[in-house]
């Protein structure tokens, strides 16, 4: 998606350790107009898949997921990173290792909101190691829900995430795939 690639080139910042910051427009401050174009593109890609639920994980996936859901006329469900007392009753639970924070945390969704009749599009802002997505796919599997595919805004193509997801038989569509960030210069696939 040229619009997103150009925005990354214009406003993305590369830091040592293959860290790409896009927090001026994607995952801290959010350009909602850009999110709208992203959502439209996901709809184009997955238009024939009868998606009836969008699943994401807190926090930075929620904005993209909600804007995208407007094009699919379906609800958004976001997985939560710990069990709070506001989530009573039974939940599906999985564990996710955070590449960013170097920790492992529980991720849950309420059993009430994910089930056999759901055709789920998983949405997230970033794909690197793929741990968050694998966790979300696991939650869908536990619920017996069908995963139609994953829609990712920015993929670090030099990390193994998308390969790991595809090995599970799950479709991955990333709107901007970064091939390399050597010497601070971003190159796309």
């Amino acid at each position: 998606m040229v619009l997103l690639e150009n925005r990354i080139l214009k406003d993305g910042k590369v830091y040592p350790g293959s860290i790409l910051k896009v927090d001026s427009f994607l995952n801290h401050q959010m350009d909602v107009e850009l999110l709208n174009e992203i959502g439209k593109e996901f709809k184009r890609i997955y238009s024939d898949c009868e998606v009836n639920k969008i699943l994401t994980i807190e926090a930075s996936g929620i904005g993209i997921a909600c804007i995208t859901a407007q094009f699919f006329n379906c609800p958004v469900l976001f997985a939560k990173k710990t069990k709070t007392k506001n989530i009573a009753g039974t939940v599906y639970k999985t564990q996710v290792k955070s590449y960013t924070h170097g920790t492992t945390y529980d991720v849950i969704v309420s059993k009430e909101f994910l089930g056999k009749n759901d055709k789920v599009l998983i949405i997230d802002d970033f794909l690197a190691e793929g741990n968050a997505l694998l966790g979300l796919i696991d939650l869908c599997n536990q619920a017996g829900a069908e995963v139609v595919g994953c829609g990712i805004a920015v993929e670090k193509g030099f990390q193994p995430g998308s390969k790991r997801i595809r090995e599970k038989g799950v479709r991955v569509e990333s709107l901007a795939v970064i091939d390399s960030m050597d010497d601070g210069e971003i190159k796309f696939k």
Copy 2:
């Protein structure tokens, strides 16, 4: 807002300790069509305030904030609950006590994205004790940004949050204000 009140009566669940669960449509699973009506209503209320930034706090405020931002044609900034290594550089920081979790946590926004030229509408899903909102107002004050007001989906009117915010001289507009939840029966103001 009658639409929201009716939805709370239909799908909200009351638990002991004045806990209201609206997680089937507002803050776990999200009905994006309802969020759209909520956003439209915030725009109606704050239409003449020249809002140029919407501020919220992760995670459950983000969806409402993003949908609302579409009506204001402005970006969303969401405050984060801990300092991650993806946020380099300087941040504004405040502390918020969580009524839900019984803990105190740091809340940050990058200094880059909040400043003197911002006319900020603060959006959140819930208002009870008001601690999160007071924290967001503090961040705006630190940044020299003007707080136009707060837009809240559901307020527990029997808790002191809105009074505490108004004592700071900040406008609060809640779309559904719960007067009481005695014996599981929800009454609105």
